[in-house]
Amino acid sequence: AQTVTQSQPEMSVQEAETVTLSCTYDTSENNYYLFWYKQPPSRQMILVIRQEAYKQQNATENRFSVNFQKAAKSFSLKISDSQLGDTAMYFCAFLGPNDMRFGAGTRLTVKP
């Protein structure tokens, strides 16, 4: 079974600084997809970024980028120029042939 591990329950960063959130996963699948979702206090899960496992190039979306290391089964999220609105829970998710598995989340606080 696939498992997703986020080892940082809480993190904080100063506004305009850069922060990296860690995620590792375990799977025997070769084709899969990885996602980072953001969940602000309003509780709606919002897609931040998506990575296809068969693509070596790391995905980027504006201030958000990932470091995908397939052999190491690592999928970290880097947030550049952090903004107050980035304060939220961040979940790493794995999508294989069956269901989507989420990590336990990292609570990120951006400080002014």
Partner: protein, 114 residues
């Protein structure tokens, strides 16, 4: 373009009761997945519906059941409620024949069991 909508937003029940939660998928989506998110944890997959049938199921007891209607909307039913069923229940929709597409989530239903 309507996103995923869930109702109700908040519900209070007592142990032993039954509850039904509702979800309308994002326009154009045909697959609905349900998740349970306990406080301080990540979402846990309950099951997924496509073409009005349950296609995948997570590690949840038979007290959790569902339904999908011809218009792709879905219901989650929980019988014999336990205190441990208190959680945020999230519905997510996607398009079945587009592999790897992200799921779009609703705002969730907060279920509290007294």
């Amino acid at each position: 373009d309507a996103g995923v909508t869930q109702s109700p937003t908040h519900l209070i029940k007592t142990r032993g009761q039954q509850v039904t939660l509702r979800c309308s998928p994002k326009s154009g989506h045909d697959t609905v997945s349900w998740y349970q998110q306990a406080l301080g944890q990540g979402p846990q997959f309950i099951f997924q519906y496509y073409e009005e049938e349950e296609r995948q199921r997570g590690n949840f007891p038979d007290r959790f059941s569902g339904h999908q209607f011809p218009n792709y909307s879905s219901e989650l039913n929980v019988n014999a409620l336990l205190l441990g069923d208190s959680a945020l229940y999230l519905c997510a929709s996607s398009l079945r024949n587009r592999a790897g597409q992200p799921q779009h989530f609703g705002d969730g239903t907060r279920l509290s069991i007294l």
